[in-house]
Chain length 281, copies 2
């Protein structure tokens, strides 16, 4: 039993998918040209033209900014580093507000320096989110905590399962919903609790849905994701869980692929995304 | 607060740590020479001299066989393949009995063929273990299900957390304890539930403890483990959790390292294991 293909209007592009070939302006123009309705931006790229210009370009093209990714790397070896991360995340929240982004996607950061204190590092993440939550609420920007694959625990982010992210949401959330999760299938597809935790998250906490595929032959931990349909993830099944839980948002393609998709003409990449969204998701 | 160094009598070697340079006979002789008290063997290597000869060599040297690794790759595309895996695992149980191994370590196998059915694959694992459990019990060989790092879900093993492994144990175990888990820090160090699940497992289910380290700079998913002390895992902390839960068994060094430790003189590797066991574990 397979559900019908997804609504093509929900296709969105994460700019990281074409980051090697296209500037931010080119990403936005490309999305418009290929009739994507949403785009998700990385804060690094935003520096090229600034949030105001990016917002204008996206909105003029009829694009929803589905998310801004950046900020949130809260763990640091000293108090000054931790404060710098909090300040940076507040600025990221302001940028997300300018973009009218649906959420700010937080990648929580890894073990600082040569630390082996994983528990303490995770407490820094909790405390850091706690420090920016009021600012996010005032700015009207929901924060989407993104669990990263456990293989990134030491290098990129120490929030590694949906259950852990939702535990953090439950611990920190006081009152109105301004904190949730980003579900990236590449990071979470293996999780025996995936279905249960998506249900637990529910509409309120499911703020973003990112799609790509896991290549079983992959040996590179960093940028070897597959295009939807080329790997082992049952994307229609995961999408059905998201929809059953109430998620109605975009499906954001995020394929980090130094050996394959990053090398291709981005127009070909976007055309492939559109096809695969209908045939493999 | 750090506990005192571990009992050096508990140091054991997993033969995979020196598999590029030493035959099975050399592994056993090397362990004796370097005053290891335990050795864990891979079934592949066992074929060189057979289980009886290996048992004699190990026991003559005063070595406990802490585990045999092999069998258990239950998922297959068809019934014949699944039956072959069950038969093979029964033979592995017999080998483990001959070796008087403390357990047979089961690596559960990955998605078969081009399957995307992760839930069904995990059911094959459950059913496969169910098929061999009586044989293991009769042979007096406890089965140690080893959760593998989630990055191996598609390629090696679809049991990926201690919680999942213990859920399987609870579902399958009827009566006497003949099913438990192998805790390999490389696979599970990142898990937010690690402490809780070790406690849950308790003495009854904690059948093996494998040590190495996670290198934060690691990019290779397959054989880039660190020697204890060279990475980010707080090994004394994890050992303290194991001991608090009642584990009294060996500490088995399993360093798969194609770029570094596999290239060195195994005598140097074993000497380093002995030092690091005292200084970093």
């Amino acid at each position: 039993m397979r559900s019908s293909p997804p609504n093509p209007e929900l296709l969105a592009l994460n700019s990281a998918t074409v980051r090697e070939k296209w500037s931010l302006r080119e990403v936005i123009a490309g999305c418009v040209r290929h009739r994507f309705r949403g785009v998700s931006l990385c804060r690094d790229g935003l520096a090229q033209i600034g949030a105001k210009e990016a917002a204008r370009a996206a909105h003029d093209g009829g694009l929803t900014v589905t998310g801004l990714c950046g900020g949130g790397r809260f763990p640091a070896s000293d108090r000054r580093g931790r404060q710098a991360a909090i300040d940076d995340t507040r600025r990221a929240i302001d940028d997300a507000a300018t973009l009218e982004a649906r959420c700010l996607v937080l990648v929580a950061g890894a073990l600082p320096g040569d630390s082996k204190d994983l528990i303490g590092t995770r407490e820094m993440v909790r405390d850091g989110i706690g420090e920016v939550l009021d600012h996010a609420r005032s700015a009207g920007v929901p924060l989407a905590l993104e669990p990263l694959h456990p293989m990134y625990c030491a290098s990129r982010g120490c929030v590694n399962t949906l259950a852990q992210a939702l535990d953090l949401c439950d611990e920190l959330e006081r009152g109105a919903a301004s904190l949730g999760v980003a579900v990236d299938v590449y990071h979470v597809w293996w999780d025996p609790q995936l279905k249960a935790q998506i249900e637990r998250a529910g509409e309120k906490r499911l703020l973003a849905f990112q799609i790509s595929d896991w290549l079983p032959s992959s040996k590179d931990m960093f940028a070897d994701r597959g295009m939807m349909g080329d790997g082992v993830v049952d994307l229609p099944l995961v999408r059905s869980w998201m929809e059953e839980a109430g998620y109605r948002g975009f499906h954001e393609v995020e394929v980090l692929s130094s050996g394959n998709w990053w090398r291709r003409d981005p127009n070909e990449v976007l055309a492939t995304c559109r096809v695969r969204h209908q045939t493999a998701c």
